[in-house]
């Protein structure tokens, strides 16, 4: 009894102490030819350096968005926005599509063979294909 309550308390403390760390995975349409991608390849679509795939972004307020850009491009949200404003205001590209969350990213990716998005690993299902897992 004593041990049980102690481990319960420990688990509770650990649960609070550990940050809620999402595991970010990059997904494409199951019919897309790509099987795997490097970090740099993923980053080039989300930083507007390649138009071959259509990036789908999470909402600006979503923690997964900041984590994704930090892990894939090593950039803060404001750095990413400054980079995009160079492309947008010279008319070279438009900002990535922004959808409501992981479920909407999956919908957009499932509907478009050229779409690429990122979601939490726990949201992965058969409608999408994982091509990169952030470390």
């Amino acid at each position: 009894m004593h041990n049980m309550s102690l481990s319960f308390v420990l688990a509770a403390i650990l649960g609070i102490g550990l940050p809620a760390r999402a595991e970010v995975v990059v997904v494409v349409n199951p019919n897309a030819p790509e099987a795997a991608m490097t970090k740099e390849e993923v980053a080039q679509y989300f930083l507007g350096k390649s138009g071959a795939l259509v990036p789908i972004d999470q909402p600006e307020s979503a923690p997964i968005r900041a984590e994704f850009y930090k892990k894939v491009a090593d950039k803060d949200p404001s750095q990413v926005k400054a980079l995009w404003s160079k492309l947008v205001f010279t008319g070279r590209a438009t900002m990535p599509k922004e959808v409501g969350g992981s479920a909407d990213v999956k919908k957009a990716v499932a509907a478009n063979p050229k779409a690429i998005g990122y979601i939490d690993r726990s949201a992965v299902d058969a409608t999408v294909k994982v091509i990169y897992t952030a470390p």
């Binding site: 071959a52 926005k81 404003s85 160079k86 947008v88 205001f89 008319g91 438009t94």
Partner: protein
């Protein structure tokens, strides 16, 4: 007009920061914008400090007109490969009052994933950051180096451009070709480039960018009602930019030939990012008929979600009047220029 616009500039970031987040992805028409609300002052009233195309400028009394602007852009997607873009900027120009300029108005055809053709009013990309030099938020420094960017004050080109991107291993090479005509109104004169041919080659490898550019044109200069004979002019530029492990470097070397003595300009800027704060230092030099040097120190602070705050102090050493306006007899540098700005995008 004079007071309303600066107030609007300062209020806009608060009003529009929510608009950015509400962007509807499925919309075919997208409205976005950028702007800077700034105050600029110097330590002398013997000459006015201004950006290259401006008639007025700042003295010891802080002025909003030198570095403030606001731009609005509309992008309309017609179909998978065709889109339209229009952009206007409000700022102080050749007269000492705020005025609007149409900076972009083109139709863009995406021929393939790597090739795009644009027809209409396109950016005149003469420098490393020339096609977004008015977008303060996209830049580290509060304003582009006067010593280099005064050489070609024109923003846009009426004609067409082609943008071709190739991947070479982990790098990419972008080739830009443009042809057209460009007009810029400056204080008391109009500069027109006809038969302008632009070639830029940009190599990008991870955090590094190298850019080589060459522009050839025939220049017509109108001073009041006097039109000076056409001149063959050329402009050559080499630029380097790096954003690597929090270290930020940007540098350009430029040569303008054909009008007066050959002018050469260069600047080098270096900074280091500590989280949201990016202090930087820059040195710029211009030689030729107009000569000037500037040492700048400043800081960019990404204080808000879509807005930054900048503070910059320049120590400007002109030869004669240098790039200053309305210099009084006996004016001599150096001049200390201070500026504080809020840049935003939406």
């Amino acid at each position: 007009m004079k007071t309303i616009i600066p107030v609007a500039l300062l209020v806009l970031p608060l009003a529009v920061s929510t608009a950015w987040a509400q962007d509807d992805a499925t919309q075919a028409v997208k409205v976005s914008g950028f702007g800077t609300g700034a105050l600029t002052w110097t330590n002398t009233n013997d000459a006015l400090f201004a950006r290259p195309y401006q008639a007025g400028g700042a003295g010891t009394k802080p002025r909003t007109g030198v570095d403030s602007n606001v731009g609005l852009q509309i992008d309309a997607r017609i179909n998978d490969w065709l889109s339209l873009t229009g952009q206007g900027i409000v700022r102080k120009l050749e007269t000492d009052a705020y005025g609007a300029t149409g900076t972009l108005a083109f139709a863009k055809a995406r021929v393939s994933d790597t090739l795009a053709v644009r027809v209409g009013r396109v950016p005149l990309a003469a420098f490393l950051v020339s096609d977004y030099r008015n977008v303060g938020y996209a830049n580290t420094m509060l304003r582009p180096s006067q010593e280099v960017y005064a050489q070609v004050p024109n923003d846009s080109l009426d004609g067409a451009d082609v943008d071709w991107r190739q991947d070479v291993g982990s790098s990419s090479v972008t080739t830009q070709i443009a042809y057209g005509r460009s007009t810029a109104k400056l204080a008391g004169q109009t500069v027109t480039f006809t038969n302008a041919r632009v070639l830029n080659v940009i190599l990008e490898q991870g955090p590094f960018t190298v850019r080589l550019g060459r522009d050839d044109a025939r220049m017509v200069l109108e001073q009041g009602r006097v039109e000076l004979p056409k001149l063959k002019v050329s402009f050559t530029a080499a630029g380097f930019a790096m954003d690597w492990n929090n270290a930020v470097v940007q540098s350009e070397y430029t040569i303008a030939r054909g009008f007066g003595a050959t002018s050469r300009g260069w600047y080098a800027m270096g900074g280091y990012r500590f989280g949201k704060v990016l202090p930087f230092f820059s040195h710029g030099k211009l030689t030729g008929d107009v000569a000037q040097r500037t040492d700048s120190i400043g800081v960019r602070w990404d204080a808000f979600r879509s807005a930054d705050i900048k503070f910059q102090v320049d120590r400007v050493k002109p030869e004669g009047a240098g790039l200053f306006n309305q210099a009084k007899p006996g004016f001599r540098g150096p001049v200390t220029v201070g500026a504080v700005a809020v840049d935003f995008v939406f």
